[in-house]
Symmetry: C2
Subunit: 946 residues, 2 copies
């Protein structure tokens, strides 16, 4: 363990970057100097040779083959470059004494290696990759000394990155990123990209797709400046899946006149012009390090040929285009395609051409594409779909994954703030990696801002899969605490860190459970199983913690918190609260209860608060992030943002008559007072085995006439917290709490009665009936609460924390392994013990996370059995499931982040064992609800929780 | 024409009612004296003989056989009693000089004849039958002289009443009538019935069913006093359809203990007790003039036997009960059933027993019932159903009709105010009469108050069918003006009478179109065909007239107006307005327009106004009618009043963004500004042959950002009333009126554009497209606008004014005649000329009034043809139609007061003739809509109107 004193409190070490260094290294050198100044308030001098240094401690930033000083040090036996030479994007750090100087050598195996090493220096000083984008200002220090973890050769050598190309895609950049870039930089130009590239490099990424909704990367720099800067800084540029040969999506319609009169984007009718257009794109960008998108799609993410074209027609035209593209690339770049990184995106209809059909072989096995990267995609909502089969994994070009943290499209866009949970990203991207998708990871981050949190994790996972990949099972929480430390340094108390974790975990869980865009008053049930109240309480609790932190923090930590946590959380939670209250308001308005009106004030305040939060965020850091939360964000009525809306409040007018309304909280049924058509009591069932021994009785009014009520109970087995009360038009409601006194008697039923006396002399009453010790109609077991976890060859189910919509979930590892049920002991299973009151047929409902099959047409089967019965196959999705917007089943899964499937089993009275066996990849189980056949569960969003 | 000076300004004629007169005649004599005092401020003395008289002019009120003076006058040849002797309920009026007195002789053929004659005297003085119940105070007069229309024998002789038993049923008397009676009279007792009987007799009715929801007529008088009083006054009492042998519905459960321990109302298990119970009922009431309900039903209007009983079981038990009843009647009243008026109601399931089936002969032809009146019923909603066939009309007992102006039951009750139009009553009850239903007419008037208007007509029609029956075709308006004069005397101007007619016709039309109880925000379409706006304007106009009259009138006329017209009208119209506004509020809230919020104030004011109107009504005439409008009255969510509600208002929160919304008034489609997914213009079609040459363009905002808009039009064939404007968050909307300038050009299309510039600098636009001279997709013809009305043997279609939901309607007369199409000239038809632009298949949609077939299983067929095509049969209802709540088709018809059926025809371009031929009874056509096949009419409540 070597120490290096970068700053002794008086002077900060000079940095040597030689003339011969890469321009990008020089440029990043300045950034690192600024980083050090943020910490020390002293800017290191950057000099070009050791002789120019004035400090005793110096830093050398160099690249193998680009530094005379390095050669000198190697010659002196002070550095062993063989540890990194020939490696990809690797850096070595070593402290040494040379010419009476204490030298920290940062040497890269290549340009990016050096840059990563330099940013590593920043991090060692306490500077976060989010120093700009997250306003994560480092702690000030008088002196800076840090340790270099040395290997047995006395140096720190970084690993080669796990994923070859890794980066992000700024997408659908209006109104947020686009307006921001114009206001702050005058456009989506090189000034703007300078910040974006820096972020990518700090994350040790190397690849990106630029904004292209209304931006032309290679024209708007101004001119080629964006692309030139990327190349200088070592950022490998790509273009998105439907923009071949460096050409941004908009360029054709803007430039087609240079190539003729025909603006049609048809390779059939306009081949010559389009080919020339492509060729000019290559001539423009060929000198920059790039991955070149090939293939052809229609404009604006559409199909190329009309709907009635055959598979063969389509494949032919795509092949023709690719051959034309390859010809250009060979001519202008290299005849050796191993040296020309090409990428074909297997996205939407291109997937059909990739597989082909009986009439025509697909692109998959076309020799021309042998060296091309096949870029797969998730379903736009963070759920992987088709992955390479074992055989396909041999494809020499390798596979990539186009993943989404943000999407503008069906079933409903999510573009406002962060809806991504790290656990899902971990679970899905480890699956991709294990399926051989290691050549390219690119993630759509939409407008970028507020994606810092999941993007940090995505980039780290891509860079260091060894640590965070399969080995990282249930290490996400550890990552988050590290991330918190990275952003806030040592300025938070342990309790504040816990609070911050709670806020991050909480808001992302609620957003992942239901995005703000798809929230409306009909999501969490206002009545059934108290779901609305439960989520409301949870959202209020998380928001209170978020607000408490905002109160506690100040200065730079407050700003950091506001920039990357608070507003994302508060604005999201505020909407959850507003919509749940609106659901309650509408439900009670539908029932005519005046209590509906008591919600109006807060709903209206929440709407105003929502606007205020966005506006306030746009003003933090002197308006640095103006526009960044300006996307439409809730109450979407169509897939896009055109029809979004705030809650509509309902206001009930009191009837002019005496009208009480009595109901047990959590039940739809209400009683308006006994009369010939409805003499039946309202019923509450206390289950024999449940913890909940309380029932709330709401006594509402629908009318203007106030009333007194009196409760009578025929037995002391049930008691209530008040025996009488009064409800006025103004108070609207009184609530009585009934509880079970099990010591009192052995009664199986207790009758009660609410007598109501209205001010106008009218009287009515409602009979109550409490059923005691009833058999539960259903039981709920968390999937993680298994009695036995049977592994096979060490493989099997694992519990993943923070993955389920409301808690943990179980999944079989390794992720891509398939099992067929043969003998019950040869494959992994988990078993659950359940005791039921009655022997009967039961349905086991499996609450699954929304995932897609890893093969086309797959159904993500698994198996379940009760006691000694033969395991039954359970399919997670129907046999006509497909991951496109046209499939309501898929869309429903995406919107709700969960799905339910069930099997019927016979259980005996008393103890039973249910076993769940491994099957196909993609099955993630949150909970099991075991209900009596024929019993209908009350409709809810999340199902029962006990 | 003889004149009689009842009051010379100084003295009012004495009234002679001899000791020997009927007690009821004496009692009514006092009432008539009070009537005369109301006019003259002088109360006539009632004396028992001519010698006791002090005035020169005297009135003799006497009954044939009950007056010595009459015998004296007959002996003197001064009166010819043979003109009335032996007649039923007839009176004669004759002036004569006798013993130096000027005598007005009012002589009845029987007690009721005398009473009718006495009340006729009141009417001649200007006293309305509604003097008490309608607060119709007569005009004061100094002198009262009137003319007696003499026949050739020098006397006025009234006709025998047309319908033998005629009267009304106070039903479901809580909360309105019941609370009123308790507050004003201390109960539903003889003090109360004294007023009710008087009303019946003033109407020249003779029969009634007493309140029985929570009242026992023969026990609550107190004691037998109600029944005794009825008999004294000549009111023939019945009990309702399910209360045999004088026993009110509630009596059994209150009294069964006198007959044993078993409270079951089962003639199988408890025959002895029930028989004794009945017998005691007969012993109690046998001395009073009554029509005795026989048969047996379950309690509370339910079935007698369980659902699984066979037809034979049911018929057997009913027969057994009837035989037991008849035995009691024979024993205690008379063995001659001709002298014992018995009535069997053919209501609900009793109808099945009436017809019987293959397993068992029905009650219809059972000799035991030969002399019983068979009481038929409407469908509880004023629509007749089964009527006697020609053969059945020979039933010696005759037929009665139980008709409804008010009902507590499915599909939705109507019990608040008057929803009955006189034209419908006329149309339906003349049909009943023509079908031989002449023995008994009884109408359910619910709580009575506010039913004065239709009840006046019903009673007059029953009393004098000659004048108002078939001969009264289109004389309803004449009746109404007479009725207005009867209530208001000469105190209204001609204009005020016209206004009053407008209010009466208007509010009853809107209430009949949709009862207040069934009104909600989804009735009149807020958008399509401008329906909501149209009905709103109409309701506002009628209400304005009602309010104007209220302003203009004062004193007694104001009170009369308030009592029987104003509050019924204003409270109903106020609700129509509130609900239509709510529909618009909800529709615009659904669309996100802030303009939705502009409706909230008025909706809330209307709800308050509704409460205020009810309250105000309860305070007129010093609270005389307190409680009478207290029934639940709108927004019913179930068949009964338990779930009624006022409108729930929706409030939209403005979005924080710039968002305009542009739409043509009357169209669902709106445009939020052009963007890639929706570049299509919004389109307005000006039809070639329509009068409407205007289009309204609404420019709304959804967001907080105000904007300026500018209209451009590419041609002057369409112009607009303003070329630019501004919309703010506060104003929410601006409207541009476009009109067609046909002189300008021959353009077939005019393009336009709305350019929108938001305050925040954003811009958008909406393209407009006006299509000029488009072919209409549909044509609308009022059924009364026929080109030819072909009669057969003088019979055929007649136009009935004020019958259709929005105007007149046509119906074939005589009402019970059926036609089968044979040759097209042998049956009546009406023909319509229609010119269409395109030869095509068209659907003719017939808008029919809701009516029921006159025979079980009937389908109310008629025929239609286009040009020379063969007439097609059109069925008004499906082949599984039945008039019970279980049939959604029936229920829908009742709720909407209309139904549509259609046939397809081929029309040629240019002129076409459509013929509609007579078929079954019950077909009433309001309008024909002829639409191109495949064109879907916009959903509305009433269909197109042009």
């Amino acid at each position: 363990m070597a120490k290096f004193l970068l700053c002794d409190g008086k002077r900060v070490a000079d940095i040597i970057i030689e003339e011969s260094a890469f321009a990008g290294v020089k440029e990043i050198g300045k950034t690192v100097a600024e980083d050090i100044c943020l910490v020390t308030d002293k800017t290191p001098r950057i000099v070009s040779s050791l002789v120019d240094t004035e400090t005793e401690a110096v830093v050398l930033a160099a690249t193998v083959g680009k530094s005379a000083l390095l050669t000198e040090l190697e010659g002196a036996g002070l550095v062993d470059l063989s540890q990194i030479a020939g490696k990809r994007e690797v850096f070595m750090m070593k402290t040494l004494e040379y010419q009476r100087k204490s030298v920290l050598v940062i040497v890269g195996s290549d340009k990016r290696g050096t840059i990563y090493g330099m940013f590593h220096l920043s991090e060692l000083c306490g500077v976060s990759p989010l120093v700009y984008f997250g306003d994560a200002y480092p702690e000030k220090k008088q002196a800076v000394e840090f340790e270099i973890k040395e290997n047995d050769k006395g140096a720190f050598v970084s690993k080669e990155p796990s994923v070859y190309y890794r980066g992000f895609f700024i997408n659908d950049e209006w109104p947020a990123f686009g307006n921001w870039a114009y206001e702050k930089f005058g456009g989506v130009n090189a000034k703007c990209y300078r910040k974006v590239f820096e972020l990518l490099l700090r994350f040790k990424g190397n690849y990106m797709w630029p904004a292209m909704w209304n931006s032309n990367f290679s024209e708007d720099g101004p001119g080629i400046e964006n692309a030139r800067l990327a190349d200088e800084l070592g950022v490998i540029m790509g273009t998105s899946h439907h923009e071949p040969l460096f050409r941004a999506g908009n360029e054709w319609q803007q430039q087609y006149k240079e190539y003729g009169d025909d603006n049609s984007w048809s390779f059939l009718s306009n081949e010559k012009a389009i080919t020339k257009f492509w060729e000019n794109g290559v001539l423009r960008n060929k000198d920059f390090e790039s991955v070149i998108t090939i293939g052809m799609r229609g404009e604006a993410d559409s199909k190329l040929l009309p709907e009635d074209a055959t598979m063969k027609d389509n494949i032919e035209v795509v092949k023709k285009a690719i051959l034309a593209q390859d010809k250009i690339l060979k001519e202008h770049i290299s005849a050796d395609f191993k040296a020309v990184p090409r990428m074909l995106a297997i996205y939407k209809e291109v997937e059909d051409y990739y597989y082909g059909d009986e009439t025509c072989e697909g692109l998959k096995d076309w020799a021309e594409l042998e060296d091309a990267i096949f870029l797969l995609s998730d379903d736009n909502h963070g759920n992987l779909r088709n992955l390479p089969t074992e055989a396909e994994r041999n494809h020499p070009g390798g596979y990539g994954m186009y993943y989404h943290f943000d999407y503008h499209g069906a079933p409903i866009s999510y573009e406002w703030t962060n809806c991504n949970r790290l656990t899902k990203t971990w679970e899905q991207m480890t699956t991709a990696y294990e399926a051989g998708v290691t050549k390219m990871w690119i993630v759509n981050v939409g407008d970028l801002k507020e994606m810092e949190y999941p993007l940090s994790f995505f980039m780290e996972l891509a860079y260091d899969y060894d640590t965070w990949g399969l080995n990282g099972l249930n290490k996400v929480k550890e990552f988050v605490y590290k991330w918190i430390d990275q952003q806030f340094g040592n300025r938070l108390s342990a309790e504040q860190k816990d609070d911050l974790f709670k806020v991050l975990e909480g808001y992302t869980r609620l957003n992942a459970m239901r995005t703000p865009e798809t929230m409306n008053e009909r999501i969490y049930h206002p009545v059934h199983l108290g779901e609305g109240e439960r989520i409301l309480a949870e959202a209020r609790d998380i928001l209170a913690t978020a607000n408490k932190l905002k109160e506690e923090l100040s200065g730079e930590t407050l700003l950091t918190y506001e920039s990357i946590v608070y507003y994302a959380a508060a604005a999201s939670l505020n909407l959850v609260i507003a919509w749940i209250l609106t659901g309650m308001n509408h439900e009670l308005a539908r029932k005519g209860s005046l209590y509906a009106n008591t919600y109006i004030d807060e709903i209206e305040k929440r709407v105003a608060e929502g606007k205020r939060l966005v506006d306030e965020f746009h003003h933090i850091a002197d308006g640095k992030w103006n526009h960044c939360l300006s996307s439409a964000h809730t109450g979407f009525r169509s897939w896009d943002d055109r029809e979004w809306s705030y809650p509509v409040v309902n206001k009930v007018a009191p009837l002019s008559v005496a009208k009480a309304m009595v109901s047990f909280r959590g039940q739809d049924r209400y009683h308006l007072g006994a009369y010939w058509q409805d003499m039946a009591p309202i019923v509450w069932e206390f289950y024999s085995d449940t913890k909940a021994k309380e029932a709330l009785l709401d006594i509402d009014t629908r009318g203007e006439i106030g009333f007194d009520y009196k409760i009578t109970l025929e037995s002391d087995a049930v008691c209530c917290d008040k025996a009488s009360g009064r409800v006025e038009c103004e108070s609207c409601r009184d609530t009585v709490n009934f509880s079970l006194d099990q010591s009192a008697s052995e009664a199986s039923e207790v009758k009660g009665r609410v007598d109501i006396s209205f001010e106008n002399g009218q009287k009515t009453y409602v009979d109550l009936l409490f059923k005691l010790g009833e058999s539960r109609p259903y039981y709920c077991i968390s999937a993680a609460d298994f009695a036995e976890n049977h592994k096979a060859d060490g493989n099997g189910f694992e519990t993943i924390d923070f993955l389920g919509r409301e808690g943990s979930a179980v999944k079989v590892f390794p992720p891509m392994k398939s099992y067929e049920v043969e003998g019950t002991d040869s494959i992994p299973y988990v078993s659950y013990d359940i005791s039921v009151d009655e022997a009967s047929e039961y349905d086991i409902i499996f609450y699954l996370m929304t995932r897609n099959p890893s093969v086309k047409g797959g159904r993500m089967k698994f198996y379940a059995s009760a006691n000694d019965d033969k395991p039954q196959v359970v399919y997670s999705v129907s046999d006509h499931y497909y991951t496109e917007w046209q499939d309501a089943e898929w869309a429903q899964g995406v919107l709700t982040a969960g799905r339910q499937v069930s099997v019927s089993v016979n259980l005996k009275a008393g103890n039973n064992t249910i076993k769940v066996y491994a099957g196909d990849p993609g099955v993630i189980i949150e909970k099991l609800v075991i209900k009596r056949a024929g019993y209908e569960l009350p409709t809810t969003y999340l199902g029962p929780i006990e």
